[in-house]
Amino acid sequence: MEARIAFAVAATHHPSGDSSRLAVETRRLTRVYKTRRETTTALQDVELKVSAGELYGVLGPNGAGKTTLIKILVTLLLPTSGQAFVDGLDVVKEYKGLRSRISMVSGGEQAGYGILKVREQLWMFSQFYGMNSTMARERIDELLERLGLADAANKQITSLSSGMRQKMNLVRGLMTDPRVLFLDEPTVALDVGAARDVRSEVQRWMREDPTRTVILTTHYMQEADELCDRVAIVNRGRIVAEGTPRALKQSVDETVIVDLQLDPGTPLLDRLRAIEGVGAASVREEDGVDRFSLLLNDDAVLPRVMTTVEGAGRRVSGLVRRQPTLEDAFVKLVGRSMTEEEG
C-alpha cells in the first residue's frame, strides 16, 4: 500500500525549482550504523532529486533517518553505500570543494563560545569561510536587523533566550550565502513568534535568489505545508512518499477524516485501528482529553467506530469531519502520527 501511494505522488514536480540543475541528488543512498550490540539501518536506498531553487522538506518521525540524511549531505557522515551529490559535487570525493557552498543550522544548536557577543561569534564563523571582515560585518548587521536581533548584537551569547539564539544560528547559516542551506528542525522548541520569524526569513532568503536551495527537516507538518515546494516522507530509513504538499493531501482526498474527542478512559487506539475500514488512526492527549484522528474508507465505517467507543465505556465530547491535512497524509502513509512512538 505504502509503495503504491509513494509511486502515485512521486511523479509530481515542484512548481518553482530550476529542474535543469540539481541541487541535491542521491542514488540508492544507504547508511548503516554498527555497534557491538546492534546494527541499525538508518537510511536505505534513498533516491532524491532536488532542483536548484526548491525548498524541499523531509518529514518523518523520530528515528526515521532525517538527520542521518542531512549529515551525509553536509559531509559529516559517509554513506555505507550509494552516492550523494550536492550542488553537483560528490559528498564523498569532492567534499572539500563542496564545503564552501553549503551551510547547516540545527534546532537547539549550542555551537560556539558563550564568552563571545552575538556579532563577534558570527564574525568568527564567517572567517572560517574566508569572508572579508568588513563585508561579513555588513552582512551580519543586515541579517540581525532583518531577524529583529539588532539590539542583541552586542549581547553575550550566554544571555540569549533560545529563540534569539536560534535566530543567531540562522544568521550564521545565511551569512555565507550558501548555494544549499540545510535546516535540521530549525524551529524545534521555539515559541510561536520566534518560529514564525525563522520561517519568514527562510522564505525571504529564498525569494532573493531563485537559485538558492533549502533542505528542511521538520517535525511540524504545518511548517512543511507552509514552506515547502515538495516534501519527502521518510519512515524507517526509506522514502515512502514524495510530492508537493497539495499532492500528498490529495492522496487522502477520497478518505473520510474524522476528529474524535474523548474523555480519558481505557486505551482505544489499537481497537480502533482493528476496525475494518479504518485506514489509519492516531491519538494525542491535549488539555486532558484524547484527540483521535481517524482516516475512514467511507462514511459507513463511522457507526462501527462509535460502537467500539461506546463498548469501551468512553464518552465522546466532540466529533468533527474535516478537510485532509499533510498530517493525515503522513498518518496514512506511515501508519502513525509524527509524535507517536513506534509500537
Binding site: 523520530n62 564545503r99 564552501s100 564568552i115 568568527m124 572560517f128 569561510y129 574566508g130 537559485t211
Partner: protein, 277 residues
C-alpha cells in the same frame, strides 16, 4: 560579486583568517574573565615554589632550584597543548561546534593553531610569572650569554610542542573518553620523563631517549644547558636543538596525516555528529 567569485576564497586566505578568528575567543576570554589571573597564575606559582622548597629542604645543589623554576615555566606550555588544544575538540564535539568546523572550508590545522595562539598571551604570562617570581624569590641567576640562544630553542620547542598537540588533537576527532585517558596519561608521566623538575640526564640513556620523543624533554634540557651552566649534559645543547628542530616537520607531517585519517574514520563511523536518527 558573482556566485562563483563568492566561493573562490583561496585556501591560504581561509587558513590565516581562521587562525585569527579562532584565537579571538581566547583573547576575549582573557579580557572578560579576569579570574584566570588568579587561578592560572597563583596556583602554578605556588606549585613550582613548593617544589623548590622541597629541594631546598633536601639540600639539593643550588642549580636544581633553577631546574625547577624553568620546568615549572615550561609546564604551562605543555598543559596548554594537552588541555587547551588537543582536548578542546572534545568540548567542541559536545556542543556541536566541531560539526561547524568540519562543514566549513577551513582546516583543522588552522583551527588548532588559532587555539594555540589565542592562549599564548595567558600562558606566556603564567610562565613568565613563574620564572620571574621564582628566580627573584630564590635568587636564581642565569647565564646572560645563553639568553638569546635559549630563546631560539624555546621558540623551536614551542613549535614542535604545538605540532605534537595537533597530532594529539586528531585523536579527539575520533575518540571520546578514551582520548581523555590519553591526555591524562600524558600529563604526569610526561612531566616526570621530560625532567621538568630535574635534569633529564638523571634518567639514563634509554629512558631519557624515549622521553625525547616529547619535544619538551630535549628543548628544556638545551635551555638549561644554555642558561644554567654546569647542568649535567644528556646530549649537547646544539644536538638537542637540531633534534627539536627536526621534530617540527615530523610532527607537522604526522599531524596532517593523522587529522585527515581520523576525520575520514570519524565520518565513516559517525563520530563527528552530536546526534543522529
Amino acid at each position: 560579486m558573482t556566485a562563483e567569485q563568492r566561493f573562490d576564497y583561496s585556501a591560504p586566505r581561509i587558513f590565516f583568517k581562521t587562525i585569527v578568528a579562532r584565537a579571538y575567543p581566547r583573547v576575549v576570554a582573557a579580557n572578560r574573565q579576569k579570574s584566570w589571573l588568579f587561578f592560572d597564575m597563583a596556583f602554578p606559582v605556588v606549585g613550582a615554589l613548593a617544589m623548590v622548597l622541597v629541594y631546598q629542604g633536601l639540600h639539593a645543589p643550588r642549580q636544581y632550584l633553577g631546574f625547577v623554576i624553568m620546568g615549572g615555566a615550561m609546564l604551562a606550555f605543555w598543559q596548554n597543548v594537552l588541555w587547551s588544544m588537543a582536548a578542546q575538540f572534545s568540548w567542541d564535539r559536545g556542543n556541536g561546534t566541531l560539526e561547524l568546523y568540519v562543514i566549513s572550508p577551513t582546516t583543522f590545522e588552522a583551527v588548532l593553531l588559532g587555539m594555540a595562539l589565542g592562549s599564548m598571551f595567558t600562558v606566556t604570562l603564567r610562565a613568565g610569572v613563574i620564572l620571574v617570581v621564582g628566580s627573584l624569590f630564590f635568587g636564581i641567576t642565569y647565564a646572560a650569554a645563553g639568553t638569546l640562544p635559549a630563546l631560539g630553542v624555546f621558540v623551536l620547542t614551542l613549535s614542535a610542542l604545538y605540532c605534537l598537540g595537533m597530532l594529539l588533537a586528531s585523536l579527539f576527532l575520533f575518540y571520546g573518553r578514551e582520548a581523555w585517558h590519553l591526555s591524562n596519561a600524558m600529563q604526569e608521566p610526561v612531566n616526570f620523563l621530560s625532567g621538568l623538575y630535574f635534569p633529564v640526564h638523571a634518567l639514563g640513556a634509554y629512558v631519557g631517549g624515549a622521553a625525547s620523543l616529547v619535544p619538551m624533554t630535549l628543548g628544556l634540557d638545551a635551555m638549561r644547558q644554555l642558561l644554567l651552566p654546569g647542568t649535567p649534559v644528556f646530549i649537547p645543547a646544539g644536538t638537542e636543538t637540531l633534534l627539536v628542530a627536526a621534530q617540527i616537520p615530523i610532527f607537522a607531517l604526522l599531524a596532517g596525516i593523522s587529522l585527515r585519517y581520523m576525520e575520514s574514520r570519524a565520518r565513516a563511523e559517525g563520530k563527528l555528529v552530536t546526534r543522529w536518527e
